[in-house]
Symmetry: C2
Subunit: 408 residues, 2 copies
Amino acid sequence: MGLIVQKFGGTSVGSVEKIQNAANRAIAEKQKGHQVVVVVSAMGKSTDELVSLAKAISDQPSKREMDMLLATGEQVTISLLSMALQEKGYDAVSYTGWQAGIRTEAIHGNARITDIDTSVLADQLEKGKIVIVAGFQGMTEDCEITTLGRGGSDTTAVALAAALKADKCDIYTDVPGVFTTDPRYVKSARKLEGISYDEMLELANLGAGVLHPRAVEFAKNYQVPLEVRSSTETEAGTLIEEESSMEQNLIVRGIAFEDQITRVTIYGLTSGLTTLSTIFTTLAKRNINVDIIIQTQAEDKTGISFSVKTEDADQTVAVLEEYKDALEFEKIETESKLAKVSIVGSGMVSNPGVAAEMFAVLAQKNILIKMVSTSEIKVSTVVSENDMVKAVESLHDAFELSKHPSAV
Amino acid sequence: MGLIVQKFGGTSVGSVEKIQNAANRAIAEKQKGHQVVVVVSAMGKSTDELVSLAKAISDQPSKREMDMLLATGEQVTISLLSMALQEKGYDAVSYTGWQAGIRTEAIHGNARITDIDTSVLADQLEKGKIVIVAGFQGMTEDCEITTLGRGGSDTTAVALAAALKADKCDIYTDVPGVFTTDPRYVKSARKLEGISYDEMLELANLGAGVLHPRAVEFAKNYQVPLEVRSSTETEAGTLIEEESSMEQNLIVRGIAFEDQITRVTIYGLTSGLTTLSTIFTTLAKRNINVDIIIQTQAEDKTGISFSVKTEDADQTVAVLEEYKDALEFEKIETESKLAKVSIVGSGMVSNPGVAAEMFAVLAQKNILIKMVSTSEIKVSTVVSENDMVKAVESLHDAFELSKHPSAV
């Protein structure tokens, strides 16, 4: 007998039928003799509807009151799921974040979990009940309701799995698992049987969108085995754990990509010790996320290129112009309609030729690489948006990602 | 400077505009220098929508989970009202029932408030904030969310007013106050300036529908002055307090009425000590509310007549037939299409002729009285449904209720 934490996202509990389907998933694990905790998000678009209500009243509603408002979304789902389980003859009980003992820092809208008092949950599990917990929410020391920000329900599930020492945390979603790349763009994309936390982190950060990076990080820190799987199909999903033993021989595990990238280049910066920190601190303060950064040095002048989301490009330039005197640069140039294509795989650490192979594949397809950035388990390139799909397809092909590893 | 508790029901916060209107009401009291607590219900039909969701999942959803579900309704309203106040430049903070320190018994769906820990609210009021509290809900000692049943938000408002020793509790609603009778039926119905708790209790119980009897009882016990007033008009409403000094000379304060009444008569009951209790305990167990009861005694046989809501009539007869052997009666007869018409006024205590006058008025209009029931401050009669409006109109006229008391 084990303890399983299941998490169902908004699309997987978006209707009465889907809630009943989630109930069946919980029952299936219960029937195997496991203790079951189910973490759920708000139903479908209900969070969006609450946000519109708030926006109709205030352009900038207080974050505390937004948390108060949004926390109702998951509370609706937990009660309905609990009713569905009871209707099917199973003993179930639902808890809000605060009732489930989830304590967070006192930051509204994006709080981090600081502690989980599992006594109530452990007690109910001991009694054989299926325990339903509202994802995405917690409570501060002062009994204020907080929410955990984007990917919050994933984080709740993983944190509860860690605190309860669960054997596994299943993330049910609207895709059957983690793919070598986005199957909507590359037909030969293949569902991975396994992937390591670090690889998943890189893929999650690079926009694979299946699991929130915070949840993956949490799972890695507490060594919680995760499985991303379909809420509608019964087949196995993708297992995420420390080392993916199944596919060790694969150097590249997946390919992530993202369009709508703009490259910003600052020419003729006076080389100063604080130049770089001034630029990027200023941008960070305005909530502009900078991704790849490349610095070139020529005599006493410095050039800086960095990539931002295209939607942030205009504001980026405006902010920099504002600080032109302080930064003492000559000019700024931007290039839009770019895309980022990255290969990810922990096998790269021991295979130094992977980046070179990637560049060769792209060169062979006449794809110009405009920026490069590497980490231990990833190589990112920035290319023209028009070349994005071609780049992903040819890399997917070259690194033989469509082949099942056992067939290698 | 005083402390005012305001309560806005579902129709008074049913849209963004109405929430902004409620915010303006709170601001008006704040600007007069008062401390302000606002208790709100769920927006408009949102509770009904939540109930339908639950019913789609289960015919008999668990009461605990229903409380979990329904409590979200008020939580949405408190956050939106708080945002509206903040948007208008006022410092506001919202609290759920459990955050506001409202403790209840451990009965789901219909809990009674056992205690209120006002420390958080008092602290925020001291800081000058407008405090918003979710009506209709509380928390048990075991941190379970409960709801207070029908009229729950009224009760929350009155209980908070009592606990905070408020100077006044204003109940904002979609009518301008308490009327001598229902103005939809009787054109000359007049809004009362004042009414006593006891009179209001009789009117509330008799279906006047403006204020829930539990809230009135609570207000009476703790001597909280209530005012029922319009959420859209600025004119004064109806003040409810221990003795209504303004209109002391009025013997009859108002006329309540209700259609869809059925009279059930049981003939030839064996007179036994436990006969009555057996009948009415049995009906109570099936949740059938019996109103007026009349007993006739003839030799060793007893006859019983009582009134029920017509919707309960079939079940009433079925239940009685079920117990026919135990009760040993001869037959049951029912008469439907009846109505109850009642006059209410604390002046009756010292005016024994009022009931007689009522019967005379009805007789003069050829209205046959089928049942009579009296209390210290009320006389109820059951008449044919067809005679209901005529009865109300002629009584309203005879007791001169349309005349302003200062003009008497």
